[in-house]
Symmetry: C2
């Protein structure tokens, strides 16, 4: 636990640690065979974290659940990357990246964090889904869970955070989203108790957003063709994380632990020059899902 | 061929096109079985290029030789990335990335380019080698070729450009170089004829720098262990290109053709959490090569 931090920072950090343990138990149960190995690390300059990785499970080829609480002062290099003048910061958060083995099971990403910089504080986070072979039912389910969590707190949240997610997880150079979106939010700062309750609700919803999809698809038969497509789509995942993702840039620029920051990368990825799926194939159909789309209206 | 460009730009562009053809012929001969497929593209805003890719050859799992000549005005997004005020530019260059199949054969990268921005012009380029299992002989050979090319033009070039390469192809977050370096230069602008002669000499030396190494190692027996290590090291190659490489950032930011810019990525790459080779293994020994080292002194 951090010292010399205020009650908000300490509460957020304690919650992050508890949430990591809870999620580890839930994902182990979902996997049914693999177990997470925990790896604690310290950060020079202040703080540290615990990286928990499950490798070669029944469901997950690799799953990672990171927690960290880091603090100190941004150096010039970090400031140049992040902007602003204020150097003092505190950040705590929990991150999840699940890379399933079966190409019919989507990759899941989620992150929930609390941040202080100088005298300011805010929450950020979200969760997005990256199916390889998307099903409408799955997309509707995932988005409807996030809509109901958001609606319990503020009716304006879901439309706002859904759009933010569509815009954030976008590969400019490919003209496509990383997946089918979800919610993304940052700089949420109304009242601490209220915002904290929202973020806690999000983290509790995560298993409900993902497990039913994973359960329905994990037995889907697949072969070399589906594996090859999964690896190509994973290549796009790598491109997003290394070119655009602010969390990755922040982690690497602030001396975050490289292996923990990069646990989001898939175990194996493929690049094929000018890959184009055959017109009309299920791979070509999958591409249509990578543009913003309404998944929650009754007519959707 | 571009119109409305000066004689320097036109000479450089013609040379780039010729060099691409020459290199394609040389690498096809070296491969012995694969053939390059050429793909011409136009760029909105001015210019275009030819991407030539060889897939599944005898020696190369994938090889790419790109040529391009692009011009126009940087938009705000490009300017924000690149810096400076002047929007008008012309750029022509040829790029090579060879990803061999056998883990004992190194990956080769080279790039030679001519640039104009407003009233300024300069040459840039270089070549670096990324062995998976490095041999001292290969490293000495590669560097000695570049030293002799440089020395024919300016005795100060090799030490300067070698150091620049060591610094440029460096993964800050890993604390290691991408490979064993080579030469890297930019903003070379003494006299056009003199600088052009240097760059032409570099491009002609490329096959001599690489072919003897590829020939000596291509028959080396290897199995799953060496393949797994190659894929992990290729993951670092992806990290460098997507996080640090200025050419990639420039290409994606100026609306370069994505598939041509990203042809540098390996066909397949692997990430393993906290990968550590066994102490004393050949994989552990390989890591010692990823720090700057003198490869040309008599005692080296």
């Amino acid at each position: 636990m951090s010292e010399n931090h205020g009650v908000q920072a300490r509460s957020a950090q304690a919650w992050v640690e508890q949430t990591q343990s809870d999620l580890i138990a839930l994902f182990e149960a979902l996997d049914g065979s693999g177990q997470f190995a925990r790896d604690a690390w310290r950060r020079q300059g202040g703080g540290g974290g615990v990286t928990a990785i499950l490798t070669d499970g029944a469901l997950f080829e690799r799953a990672g659940v990171n927690s960290s609480a880091v603090w100190g002062e941004f150096d010039d290099a970090a400031l140049a990357k992040i902007g602003g003048e204020e150097r003092r910061f505190f950040a705590t958060g929990v991150s999840v990246v699940l890379h399933p083995r079966n190409p019919f099971v989507p990759t899941l990403h989620a992150n929930f964090r609390y941040f202080e910089r100088g005298g300011e504080w805010w929450f950020g986070g979200g969760s997005d889904l990256t199916p390889y072979y998307p099903y409408d039912d799955d997309c509707r389910h995932f988005h409807s869970i996030w809509k109901s969590v958001c609606d319990r707190h503020d009716a304006a949240y879901y439309p706002h955070f859904k759009r933010w997610c569509d815009e954030y997880f976008y590969l400019q150079h490919r003209g496509e989203m990383r997946g089918i979106g979800g919610i993304f939010f940052d700089y949420v700062r109304t009242e601490f108790a209220r915002d904290f309750a929202f973020v806690r609700d999000c983290a509790e919803a995560l298993i409900h957003a993902y497990a039913p999809i994973a359960e329905r698809r994990r037995g889907e038969p697949h072969g070399d063709r589906e594996r090859a497509f999964q690896l190509i789509r994973r290549g796009r995942y790598v491109e997003f994380n290394l070119i655009y993702d602010r969390g990755t840039a922040f982690g690497l620029a602030t001396g975050g632990r490289t292996e923990s920051v990069l646990m989001s990368l898939p175990p194996l990825a493929r690049w094929e020059y000018s890959y184009e799926p055959d017109p009309g194939s299920k791979e070509a159909q999958a591409r249509a899902y990578l543009q913003p789309r309404d998944w929650v209206s009754p007519e959707a």
